[in-house]
Subunit: 402 residues, 2 copies
């Protein structure tokens, strides 16, 4: 007789896989998956790097590496983060199998069954499933245009003062799915609240490099850099959006005592991240190719956002509201009341366009009034057509209400 | 204030990392790490494969893939396992980030804190740490030359009939660290006991391909193939020993209901294994290169085993007993009473050779009378010298007892 664990019985659906499936159907214009377009990857750079690797280095790439990461990559990344102003010397850096693994490891380091974790609502689905897999109770605090809603957060923390959450998890830079970029003011207010409650912060910075204009550059400065001395902050990042998700490389920058526990967890999870892709990523980073690639990607994604935004203005009913993102992959849209988003999704898929409904990103699985468009992997010449299809479906749904 | 989880507080040491560190010091002859020698990797094959990949396929390699694995690799591997006689049609195959991740995922699928897991004693350290990380109690049952000790297993299961273990984890083919290859008789006896107790079997087959002589070929036939209809068996395998650990690719072959849970867990762990190395591994497998490589590796490892065995006979005191392995990477040796193995290890490292003490592989951390030699990554021309150094230290330790 098979007896599953309580932890795994608390995991229900397979939404990430479903998303991926929809996003890659060739006959459909996809705004679903949160991934770079296949045609954007720096294939030539990696070809060049691979073919110039010395035999010894290639052999190293085939071998196990140390659990915390391939040492030259750790060095290059440390230097890169240091240049960005990150406190690399008081903290320890670890390479993980995607930043989802970093989040999962931190979840394991902190969460006991029944513990509360505070997130934003909406929230990255990978983090939701990681936290749930350790039987956490998720408390989703609403986001507004400037960041997490401070009043709601304060009210929540006050109400549950006797059973304080283990940590708060946020994505302040071009949030997935909300696209939000925190204001400096909001970050300051957040830090004050977290300090008051002694609450540990997990800061997910998967998209911060992909800002569209130099004038928001200051706002993507991580809280880990700004408020290191005020609060314990675990910072996570990834190569998925600035090299390729198929490399499965992310990282965490955390205080030494947390690092020590995280290393034990990683050892028991996969022993080490792929040395093969770490060797390549190190050369990509160390040769300065990554910085050049990021510069190019900022332009590409800004253009895709511009085309998407223009098409939305042209084809969507004005009752659908949204904020133009200043970086990242996503536009988050709010529906007028009484629209059945599942019906819109079905008719849109029939007509040839796909997106993701908001409920997917709600820690409590209730949201029925939002949806997410990812423009990152949609070819420029297909965006308008896709938005037009979806706009038609939205207009129909609105008409049928009248 | 940082409050770690109970699960992570139950993880104590960092032995895997320490091993890796010792194994890669250039000034020392290492019999420590359980890895292929760097010079053995099929670098030219992968060069050829990489440089012949179509652009579209390279782009796929940079992208996310489905959680259960890159579909063409799943197909090729299914075919490969089918040829070996594995029941691929009644089960589901999943690619994991090394087979350690497969073991970790299964641990998460089944273990609640306080559950008992039966293992062999000694046991693969990765599995020990994975099970402990979910707060399992480990019950290590002794191995003899033919496999797990059936009388001890029966006695244990009888004694704890009211709180049955969640599963039993074994490595029947060239066990790490014990080198043991189960006899067919022992497998039959084991199945009878497990059936009687309805105990789920996790069968780890990391080394089965690496037998030294055709006449043991029958004995590496997995229990998953032989006894599929008798018992629920979760089977794990890996590319680490037949391509390269740096690819971080393993797999599990499990019944559909277990697969469904395992997929949810993997989604929350790292979303998918590296597509980059999956694309390469698929071509390696599909082109028939893997089978050729395995043929070659059987010869290489047999030769290293022969040299090691001959040197042991020449230099080790006869009081140190061991069995010659018929495949795999390891020789497991038993010390006479009262030898301080830690002192031997220290003096051996000082003199330039390193190995792993038995306690590392004891689920309960007590064994003081064994040590493991891995000959898999030791260059042929250094084996004798290394064994001579270690033999000297063992002789000295014995002498000092008299």
């Amino acid at each position: 007789m098979i007896r599953f664990s309580k932890a795994v019985n608390s995991l229900r659906s397979s939404e990430i896989r479903d998303l991926m499936g929809l996003a890659t159907r060739p006959d459909i214009i996809s705004f679903a998956g949160g991934m770079p377009g296949n045609e954007l990857f720096p294939v030539e750079d990696i070809d060049e790097i691979y073919n110039n690797l010395e035999l010894d280095l290639k052999r190293t790439a085939f071998q196990y590496g140390p659990t915390p990461g391939y040492p030259p990559l750790l060095e290059s990344l440390k230097e890169y983060l240091n240049k960005k102003g990150m406190p690399v010397n008081n903290n320890k850096l670890m390479i993980t199998t995607g930043s989802l693994q970093a989040i999962n490891i931190l979840a394991k380091v902190f969460i006991d069954p029944g513990d509360t974790v505070v997130t934003e609502n909406p929230c990255f689905i990978g983090a939701i499933s990681a936290f749930k897999s350790y039987q956490a109770n998720l408390a989703g605090i609403n986001l507004d245009e400037d960041g997490i809603d401070i009043q709601s957060l304060k009210a929540f923390l006050k109400k549950y003062k006797s059973v304080p959450p283990k940590f708060i998890y946020i994505t302040p830079y071009f949030h997935n799915p909300a696209g939000t970029l925190y204001t400096e003011q909001r970050k300051k207010e957040l830090i004050l609240v977290l300090k008051e409650h002694g609450l540990l912060l997990v800061e997910d910075d998967a998209y911060g490099e992909l800002y569209f204009d130099e004038d928001v550059r200051k706002r993507v400065m991580p809280m880990k850099a700004l408020y290191e001395n005020e609060l314990t902050i675990c910072y996570t990042g990834t190569f998925s959006k600035i090299l390729g998700p198929g490399f499965r490389l992310g990282w965490m920058l955390v205080p030494p005592d947390i690092y020590q526990k995280a290393e034990l967890v990683k050892q028991s999870m996969d022993a080490c991240s792929p040395n093969f892709t770490q060797v390549l990523a190190n050369e990509f980073l160390r040769s300065g190719r990554m910085e050049k690639y990021i510069l190019k990607m900022r332009e590409v994604y800004r253009k895709r956002k511009d085309i998407t935004a223009a098409a939305i203005r042209k084809y969507f009913p004005p009752e659908v509201t949204w904020t133009e993102p200043q970086g990242g992959f996503y536009i988050w849209l709010k529906l007028p009341p009484r629209i059945d988003i599942m019906a819109v999704l079905k008719s849109s898929i029939e007509k040839g366009a796909v997106f993701v409904i908001g409920r997917t990103f709600d820690p409590e699985g209730r949201d029925n009034s939002h949806f997410r468009l990812a423009y990152s992997h949609t070819p420029e010449d297909k965006i308008e057509k896709g938005i037009q299809i979806l706009g038609g479906c939205l207009n129909e749904a609105l008409k049928s209400l009248k």
